[in-house]
């Protein structure tokens, strides 16, 4: 009889992979539990009712974090919607439409841009973009939703571009050759071959960009003005959940006010979770 013998490197490899997966899973759950536990004093009792209101007056026991939730959406959604088409265009250009010699340079450029520290984008914008917006709006300080949106779009684009480029390059060469041989223009190849085959990756890039935009703290903190207001005016300020967490934590570590940041954390967590599920659902593979 032939007996299945497991070689040591097989079970070592399997074990290591399983352990890594388990630790990641456990950590994610632990963070969720930890935030829930620390937010408990706030979630119990009367303060809970004030949590989902628009009044943030910790001195009066009102911990409304709704303005911050809206602030997050007002900054992250437009930034993603702006960055995605730009990234898509860039990726198509860098892989298929640009002259051959230029393509390598463009891909290198995208790689380089991912490496620039966020804070550099932030302070460049404080000196270059914010005054410009102040002048254009003719009111306010220039520290505004629109400033954060523009810079955030710039920040998340390179990541999306790199994902899109690798998705487009994963489309098998023989099919591309075949399109060429049928007399398809590069534009037709992009439209009829790349987009249909790379849809899932494209949605993945969109989600990752949105996740980064929601999670980014520094750009909103430096540029959005941070006033606790419901975001209604693009030239006005907003405070995101992330910058709220940063601001509160910098000042305090024990009070109920501090506890409220865990509620913000929970909300962010759930936001990303729901987004992920939604995208999973939308891009599920059709039953074969």
């Amino acid at each position: 009889m032939i007996k299945a013998r497991r070689r040591p490197h097989e079970w070592i490899g399997e074990g290591a992979a399983a352990t890594a997966a388990l630790i990641t899973f456990a950590l994610t759950l632990a963070i969720f539990g930890f935030m829930g536990w620390l937010a408990m004093p706030l979630l119990q009792g009367e303060t809970l009712t004030t949590l989902f209101t628009s009044v943030w007056r910790p001195d009066r026991g009102q911990f409304g974090i709704l303005p911050m939730a809206w602030g997050t959406l007002a900054v992250a959604l437009p930034a993603t919607l702006l960055a995605f088409p730009l990234s898509l265009g860039f990726a198509c250009f860098a892989t298929h439409l640009a002259p051959r010699r230029l393509r390598k340079t463009l891909k290198g450029l995208a790689g380089l841009m991912t490496g620039i520290p966020t804070v550099v984008y932030g302070f460049s914008a404080v000196f270059l973009l914010v005054p410009l917006i102040r002048e254009m709006a003719g009111r306010g300080s220039g520290f505004s939703i629109i400033a954060a949106v523009l810079v955030l779009a710039l920040l998340i684009s390179p990541t999306m571009i790199l994902i899109l480029i690798s998705a487009f390059e994963a489309v098998p060469q023989p099919w591309q050759r075949c399109f060429d041989s049928m007399g398809a223009t590069p534009e037709e190849t992009v439209w009829h071959l790349l987009f249909p085959l790379a849809t899932r990756s494209m949605v993945g890039a969109l989600l990752l960009g949105l996740g980064r935009a929601i999670g980014d703290t520094l750009i909103a903190l430096m540029l959005a003005g941070n006033a606790v207001l419901a975001p209604t005016d693009p030239f006005g300020p907003a405070r995101t959940l992330t910058s709220h967490i940063g601001l509160v934590m910098a000042a305090d570590v024990e009070s109920l006010e501090f506890r409220s940041v865990f509620a913000c954390g929970l909300l962010l967590y759930l936001l990303i979770f729901v987004l992920t599920l939604l995208v999973r659902y939308l891009t599920r593979r059709p039953a074969a």
Binding site: R100, P174, W175, C178, S181, M182, G183, E188, H192, L197
Partner: protein, 259 residues
Amino acid sequence: MTQENKTTHDTIIQTQDLSLFYGDFQALHEISLSFAQREVTALIGPSGCGKSSFLRCLNRMNDLTAGTRSEGEVVFEGKNILGKKIDVVSLRRHIGMVFQKANPFPKSIYDNVAYGLVVNGLKNRSMVAARVEKSLKQAALWEEVKDRLNKPALGLSGGQQQRLCIARALAVEPEILLMDEPASALDPIATQKIEELILELKERYTIIIVTHNMQQASRVSDTTAFFYMGKLIEVGRTNALFTKPIKKETEDYITGRFG
């Protein structure tokens, strides 16, 4: 070089002193060869002899490989198609190509054939449907797939997939069909079907086929050209070339002494 393939047919495409370079390497050496309309020409020779490179010059597929450079002329419809002003996209609509490995798109059988039409801007649905049917019939696949046009193309057998790829190339209605070892990945029965198909297609199309299989060349082609080390050694009527080759290299190759 003697041009023995003078026939009653008109020349549809010809090369004049065509050389091809991959970087510093010269893959083709001053090839002059003409192809008669509605005939099958087989290009034979050992691996690396340049026959596939030559084939790809005829619809400029070599453009897509970085570092290639060509000299000489390829004349089609009175124009040198290697010229800078040639619209490569429309050239390829006149000169179609079938590849060695069947490469249907992960779509339905119908969509695979319709792709080339949609790409070429044909939007009218009934016209597309008519052309799909015609192409599948020309590719001798219609009877086998007419009841499952909406089933995935990847569910077809290898031979059917290759005929589907031929239908896809025909849908664009080219004048010349280039085939790069179209049957080398197929079993003998599927190969036979492809060969029968080639003989049928020759009624309408000019076919230039690269093959490693000398029996195949002798079965399907009117003219055969033998390539060796990037040079055209001999070209002639297929019967003559296989029975009374003029050059010693040709004889050595077709009798199986190398290659």
